[in-house]
Symmetry: C2
Subunit: 120 residues, 2 copies
C-alpha cells in the first residue's frame, strides 16, 4: 500500500539517538530516519554512498581534512570510502538514504553498531 | 568536493515547472529537485521506484484506484510498474530519488519528457 509518510510523525515516535530506523525502501536503498546528538565514531562505508538530509537542527560532518556544516533543509552526500564523523551539538533529525544493509558504523563495527534497524 | 547542498537555494535558482534538475548522485540514484503545478501525465516506470519528498506546498499522487495527499514534510514512494499521476493545485517543490537515467514521463514519452536533465 502506497501511503504518504510524515517525517515529523516518524521522528515523534522514538527517542533513541544513534539508532537509525527504516521508514521505506526505494530501489536498492533504505530510507531511514535518525536522531543524532554528540559525536559518533569515525568510519567509512566501503561500497555505499550515504546521503544525510537535515530535517531539523544542524550538524557538522567532519572529514579528516576539513568539516562541513549542514543546516536544516540541507543535505550532504558522503561518497563511499571517505572517512567521516557526524557531530551534533544539539539533537538533530536526519533522513538517510543508503544501500540496504549499510551498517551505521560502516568499517567501525562496535558497541554503537545497529545490526538490524527497526522498521517504523 | 563534498559540500552541503541547500535545497531552498536550489529551488530559488530556476523557475521552470516539470523540469527536474539533478543536484546530486548517491549510489545508482540521482537526487533531483522539481517544481510541479497542475496535472502531469499518467505514466509508470518499468524498473524504477520513485521517491517524492514534498519540501514546500502539497500535492496529490493519483493512482488508478485512489489518490494520496502528500503534504510538506511528507514523502511517498511509488513502486516500479505502478501507474501514477502527480497533481498540484499550486506550485509544489519536491525532492526526487530515482535511478540514474529515469525519465520524468517514464512510459509516456512525449512533449513533456526531459531527456537530459540539467545539473544544478
Amino acid at each position: 500500500m502506497t501511503v504518504a509518510i510524515n517525517l515529523a510523525s516518524k521522528f515523534a515516535s522514538f527517542e533513541a539517538q544513534w539508532t537509525p530506523k527504516i521508514i521505506g525502501e526505494v530501489n536498492d536503498c533504505d530510507v531511514k530516519v535518525a536522531k543524532l546528538n554528540g559525536a559518533f565514531v569515525w568510519h567509512h562505508h566501503d561500497e555505499a554512498d550515504e546521503l544525510f538530509l537535515v530535517v531539523r537542527g544542524r550538524m557538522t560532518m567532519r572529514f579528516r581534512d576539513r568539516s562541513v556544516e549542514v543546516g536544516e533543509g540541507e543535505l550532504i552526500i558522503v561518497p563511499r570510502g571517505v572517512e567521516h564523523l557526524p557531530v551534533a551539538e544539539d539533537e538533530v533529525h536526519v533522513l538517510l538514504f543508503e544501500p540496504k544493509g549499510t551498517l551505521n558504523t560502516g568499517s567501525a563495527r562496535g558497541e554503537r553498531t545497529v545490526e538490524d534497524p527497526e522498521r517504523l
